[in-house]
Amino acid sequence: MRKILYCLLLGLCVAGCSESPEEQPDNADSTGAADVTAEVEAFYAANPDFFSFKSPADLPTGLVWENNDHLPEIGSPEAVKGGTQNAALQDFPRTLRTVGPDSNGGFRTFLLDDTTMTMAHVHPDTRDLYPGLAESWAIDEESRTVYVKLDPAARFSDGEAITADDFLFMFWFYRSPYIMAPWYNNFYSTTYSNITRYDDHTLSITTRELKPDLDERVLLLRPIPQHFYTDMGEDFAERYQWRFEPTPGAYVVRPEDVRKGRSIALTRNKDWWAKDKKYWRYRFNPDRIQFTVIRDDAKTFEAFKRGDIDQFGLGLAEYWYEKLPDSDPDVQAGYIHKVMYYNQRPRPNFGLWINTAQPLLNNQDIRLGINYATNWSLVIEKFFRGDNTRMNTSHEGFGEFTHPTITARAFDIDKAQAHFAAAGFNTRGADGILVNAEGQRLAFTLSTGYESLRDVLTILREEAAKAGLELRIEVLDSTVGWKKVQEKQHDIFFTAFGVFLELYPRFWEHYHSDNAYDKAFLEDGSVNPERKLKTQTNNLESFAIAEMDALIERYRRSSDQDEMVRLAHQMTELHHAHASFVPGFYQGFFRIGHWRWLRYPEGFSQKHAAGPGDAFVHWIDTDMKTETEAARREGKAFDPVITVYDQWAE
């Protein structure tokens, strides 16, 4: 039913998009929202252990304040501010909120992840923390507390000062039921145990457990502007659907730039408070980043080749080798530069997520059979041309946290058949697909939201048929596909989660029974026969094993890195044995093509970056753009630039 509604919405959106984004009620009390100031105060008062109010005199003595001002600069002093960067979006963002329903879309990167400022940030080259909103910080491991002095100059984009209050409010906000985001509700109520306000610009935050990455846990928090979220209520999602939250970062979305369904733009805040700060001054250079919705990859590429779009990701072999080969006239003439960067970071977990709540798929033999019947090595070798690497577990690139010995099950028709036979599928039907004694066919739907990777699935399908397994392929629009898995309606889904640059992998989100069922187990530990699937969580495998729950809880409580490594390995082994995930592939690099006027710092290759735009160090050289356009008209060529930065190759 929701799908129908969604399609209707999509249809409406495509057919007749309203031009003015300012339709949201600003003052509607009739809709049930009210000024929440009193509610927030009451919440603080009701949780005195969590929210403390002290004076600067109460600060412990002997704290060692640090601010890591010795790290290398990010970006290049050559960078010039100005110009417009043109980019494409495949889907128009479903909302401008960064939390709540539909907020976890691709555009969030530009609203929040890559553009906002937190108290400190992870340096893309060294992995050390460098200051953002914090002027300095002090860590007290014994009390699991991080003390922070905020930069008094820090301002939101609407000019309001950023104070400790915005961090207190952040905890209320993320724990509020209004935002309809269970992950946030849970994370912010279980990870932290206290926030103390000493004065406007001094605060401390304590975590519940001592974790090896205590500093990052606290310093990567961001303030939520209390003055913006004054009217909160049940209608939060609709009320803030198209309102841009004031940001401490450099880019804002202006209401007049939101053309629903068509385009959206980021505009550089010229009075950005951090514009002259070390680590920040050479970044966020283009005055405007214009995103146009182009639904079709092929069209986006043509737009790029015309020069309407400044940069294009050439991750797929098809683009790197065929559509923009080194011999391409634009590359040879030096108009378009091709660059490949190797990197080292946690890898997105591309693979097949098997919904173990579905009939047949709840049988481990069937799942093992599916594991053996998927020919990833063929996909990697022939479709990706050997550029990609097979994932072995669902957590690759986490250093010692990644299991050292487990390898993914290789394509093996005999083993697959043996497992299918064990599950009762031992005779082949007229078309070669296995059937069981009741005449049921061994067929599952393999869905994906990745239009560009549909070929991967057709290859897997052909190979799986050899083992007697039929995979029915369903290629969905990315948001429709996401909707489908969030409602746990899939059989097998091909997708990947973006992974943050974190020290250790997360298990709770994907493997805890809390995220699979409303009440997975009864008091005595047995399976609850009446349990219902929990929707809107990232446990796509409906993975619920009591043993795993216990391990996850120990892992979340543990403060000892060695123990955590051990637990991570144990959980990975359990997950591997459960066979509910078929590890796919990862790309140990990223590669792009960009017009020469989009410039990157000399020799730029960040070890831990996920993409070239992560840190916004690029700039638009408008003179060079004019020069290039003239050169194209006159047929003048420059030196071709094809670079491979392999210093971080694994």
Binding site: I4, C7, A298, I413, A430, T445, D455, I473
Partner: protein, 355 residues
């Protein structure tokens, strides 16, 4: 032998005289015959296998696992490999492959990686391969077959519903006509494309491919029969007032008999005239839906899907779009020529009034 009235015979003769339409008809008929026995021409299964003195005909019927021919796997035999194997072993076994020894689904990476390969007679990919190294000729061939079958089913269903309801409206008239007209007006204002998209998004993908195609057909028919009723209704109105209908009624003929035996033959020219254009509309619609990704389920071969691939690889693999577009143009042109010829030969007014 068909017992044709002199009038019909005259019409057919006239049709044969219109060379463009007549030849188009012959070509299309020949093509349909080829498509009907397509498995014998384009298929990865061998036509005949002679193994250890026994003859096998794998084209139709159940699949033969590799073990049937002394191979060590239980999945469908790869007959191309088997052929080379037989040749190498030289034990008197032989097999005969179809002209194009590929099926429309298999990824045959001749170059080692999956990518579009240009047409090559040597590799027997006469129109090249698509982005995942599937034979384009095979995909086009079976795609066309599905499109034509689809169009046929569509036309028949639309005609059946359209004629029945249209005639009834015209014949009975009055309140019945008035009410049904309003219903049709409302019904025909439901946006067809959105309905297809919505209905298709709720059909669970566990439904088998042929069923999904039938559902798509059903949805399209449901939203397309209305146009036909208008023509039938007016024609029937006109015929109903004629003397022969009154005469038939006086003799005591039933309504059904009057409609189907007396009125129908007289409005046939209208019906037949529209038929080819309905076929064209059906082919275009299914292709467009496929192009948009709402048509036949992946990986069913289809013209629309090939067109989409072709437009996505315009620079690097022009042969994809050329083949798909060429086929579509040829098909639609043939049907349109036939349609024009039929209209000219079956519609007496064209001669009496305009010539």
């Amino acid at each position: 032998m068909l017992n044709l009235t002199p009038q019909t015979r005259k019409k057919l003769r006239r049709f044969r005289q219109i060379k463009r339409g007549y030849y188009s008809f012959l070509i299309l008929a020949g093509l349909s015959a080829l498509l009907a026995c397509g498995e014998l021409l384009i298929n990865s299964r061998a036509l005949v296998v002679s193994y250890q003195g026994e003859l096998y005909f794998p084209t139709y019927g159940d699949f033969h696992p590799g073990t049937d021919f002394g191979l060590d796997y239980q999945y469908e035999t790869n007959y191309r490999e088997l052929q080379t194997r037989f040749a190498a072993a030289d034990e008197g076994d032989w097999l005969l492959l179809p002209l194009v020894p590929y099926n429309p689904y298999e990824n045959n990476a001749a170059g080692g990686v999956f990518r579009p390969l240009p047409p090559s007679a040597e590799a027997q990919h006469y129109l090249g391969t698509d982005t995942t190294s599937r034979d384009i000729l095979a995909r086009l061939f079976y795609g066309t077959r599905i499109a034509l079958l689809f169009a046929l089913g569509f036309t028949l269903s639309v005609y059946l519903i359209g004629i029945a309801i249209g005639c009834a409206m015209g014949y009975f008239g009055g309140i019945f006509d008035l009410a049904l007209q309003r219903v049709i007006e409302i019904w025909s204002n439901v946006p067809f494309l959105y309905m297809v998209i919505i209905i298709f998004s709720v059909i669970p993908s566990t439904v088998a491919v042929p069923t999904r195609i039938s559902i798509l057909l059903l949805v399209m028919v449901l939203f397309s029969w209305t146009g036909m009723t208008y023509y039938m209704r007016t024609e029937t109105y006109k015929e109903k007032a004629r003397d022969y209908v009154a005469a038939a009624r006086i003799i005591g003929a039933s309504n059904t008999r009057i409609i189907f035996r007396h009125i129908m033959p007289n409005v046939l020219s209208t019906l037949i005239t529209f038929m080819p254009f309905t076929v064209v509309a059906a082919i275009s619609a299914i292709t467009a839906l496929d192009f948009l990704g709402f048509g036949l389920p992946v990986p069913t071969p289809s013209l629309g899907e090939l067109l989409k691939q072709g437009t996505a690889n315009l620079r690097t693999a022009p042969w994809i779009v050329i083949s798909a577009f060429g086929t579509l143009v040829a098909l639609l042109t043939l049907v349109t020529f036939i349609g024009e010829a039929i209209r000219e030969s079956f519609d007496p007014k064209t001669f009496s009034v305009y010539r």
